[in-house]
């Protein structure tokens, strides 16, 4: 039981709607495309509507409109933000050179946060953590060497287009197989996650909806 719907009328209606929609999606299994496509549209529409509602109620009104209306002098930067947002909204009708600063700031900001965070938060600490410490025990040495070997082989596997000797080509081939093995293992994890979803949906139909499962 997922516990999201209460025992009142609204909860009962929500459970019925969720159950019927689940069955509607599963009808694709017996080749009924139309209900499946309709429900896909419904999901896309609901998600878009929810996003718009969230943007208006949680972002635009409390973080832009309200500060600008109540104390505009304290939030001068918000006028710049408003102008950039207006440029993006009107991008379809304005010349490219007018809208490109807003787009550039947006893309550069996203890239700066992503790259800066990856370097400071992941690459440097992970490299530091992966380096074998002086205190590494003898039992850890094979693991460290194995990790190092796999990393080198996979990196060699990415040597595209460079002239390669037979030994390097073999190493690259092994590296690609190791990479495939890693992707396969990740796919296995993904299957577990999706399987839990399927089992949960079956449990929802039998437990929450039909109440035959306790």
């Amino acid at each position: 039981m997922n516990g999201f719907a209460g025992g009142d009328l609204a909860g009962t209606i929500a459970t019925w709607v969720a159950a019927l929609v689940t069955i509607g999606v599963w009808s694709y299994l017996v080749g009924l495309r139309r209900p499946f496509v309709l429900l896909q549209y419904l999901l896309a529409g609901l998600a878009t509507g929810y996003l718009a509602l969230l943007a208006v109620s949680d972002v635009l009104i409390p973080r832009l409109i309200t500060p600008l209306v109540t104390s505009p002098r304290d939030h001068l930067l918000l006028f710049v933000a408003l102008a950039l947002a207006a440029l993006l909204v009107a991008a379809s009708w304005l010349p490219r050179r007018v809208t490109s600063p807003a787009t550039g700031i947006l893309v550069a900001g996203i890239a700066a946060f992503a790259i800066g965070g990856a370097v400071v938060g992941t690459i440097l600490p992970q490299v530091g953590s992966a380096l074998p410490a002086a205190s590494v025990g003898a039992s850890d040495v094979p693991g460290v060497l194995l990790s190092l070997g796999i990393t080198i082989l996979v990196l060699i596997g990415f040597l595209h287009g460079a002239p390669r000797a037979a030994l390097t080509a073999s190493a690259a081939s092994i590296g690609r197989w190791l990479l495939l093995g890693g992707i396969g293992a990740w796919l296995g994890f993904l299957v577990v996650s999706r399987l839990a979803l399927l089992v949960d949906r079956i449990g929802f139909l039998l437990g929450d909806w039909l109440t035959v499962l306790r």
Binding site: D58, P62, F113, A114, T122, H160, W186, V192, A196, D200
Partner: protein, 294 residues
């Protein structure tokens, strides 16, 4: 002249359609039937993993909290994977509330916000928390990673009132005001984003994470490097944690039943093996991995 109905092709098409659908329907029936098997604790088939190191790390991170500690729940799960970690998340929330933690919920993705709102509703309905101890809803913060960085300075919405928002404001108003962050991952903005964006700015803040299995390879290195204090990222760890906390006694807090999961895995393995054998059989004189690069 009116044309007579042609039942033969229609019936044939229906039979062909059912024949195509039969494997999937049989799988659904098997999983449905397996759902009636006894749940955890009533059978020898257990979902909980025997290795309790991750569970112990999570428990001690929560047990070490001072009384009335502020804990931020960054809920950015994904609809498609939340069922896997739902019981674990609920057990962690019960554990935190049992230790007297004051919770604040925030989301940086729309999906996470929808799930957070539903969980807050459930807590209000099921947990029987008094109004004063009710978790604070810090809402949705736009901007993805930029929003996370902004949250370091200010995480409380302007209009938020109550003891928890006031306590956060007293502590500086940002993420640094909290004693612990519980990151519920699943979407694009996972615990990795928290480690990359928040940890360098608030290095002393302990972070624990709950994530679906597919994020385990991505997040495990952060646990080993100490950037995450605790991580529960597989179904077995989650089930073990639920068992230890004792939160799986209510139907809504129980982890998935083990038998359908086991049968589903066996079926998935069978499908993969069948596809692999078919591929191998169709390939004469196996030539190994085909290089696609020039």
């Amino acid at each position: 002249m009116a044309s007579s109905p042609a039942p033969e092709p229609g019936a044939g098409a229906l039979v062909a359609r059912l024949r195509r659908a039969a494997p999937a329907l049989v799988v659904l029936l098997i999983l449905g039937a397996a759902s009636f098997a006894p749940a955890n604790g009533e059978t020898d088939l257990r979902l909980a993993g025997p290795d309790r190191s991750h569970v112990d790390a999570m428990r001690s991170a929560i047990a070490d909290l001072p009384g009335g500690a502020l804990v931020l729940v960054g809920l950015d799960a994904d609809f498609g994977t939340y069922p896997e970690i739902r019981a674990t998340v609920r057990a962690a929330l019960s554990d935190l509330l049992a230790h007297g933690a004051q919770l604040g919920f925030v989301s940086f993705t729309p999906e996470g916000r929808a799930i957070a709102a539903a969980e807050l509703d459930r807590l209000a309905r099921e947990a029987g928390i008094s109004a004063g101890a009710a978790p604070a809803d810090l809402g949705f913060v736009a901007g993805s990673e930029a929003g996370l960085v902004r949250g370091v300075e200010s995480i409380v919405p302007a209009g938020a009132t109550g003891p928890i928002p006031d306590a956060i404001r007293t502590g500086g108003g940002g993420i640094g005001a909290f004693s612990l962050v519980l990151i519920v991952s699943g979407s694009d903005l996972s615990a990795r984003s928290w480690v990359e964006q928040v940890r360098p700015r608030v290095p002393d803040l302990p972070m624990v994470a709950i994530a679906p299995s597919f994020l385990d390879p991505e997040l495990e290195p952060y646990l080993r490097s100490g950037q995450l204090t605790a991580l529960l990222s597989t179904l077995r760890e989650g089930a073990a944690y639920v068992q230890v906390v004792g939160a799986g006694t209510t139907p809504s807090g129980a982890p998935p039943r083990p038998l359908p999961i086991l049968l589903g895995m066996l079926i998935a393995l069978g499908v993969i093996a069948e596809a692999a054998f078919r591929q191998l059989a169709g390939r004469s004189g196996g030539r190994g991995f085909q290089r696609t690069s020039p």
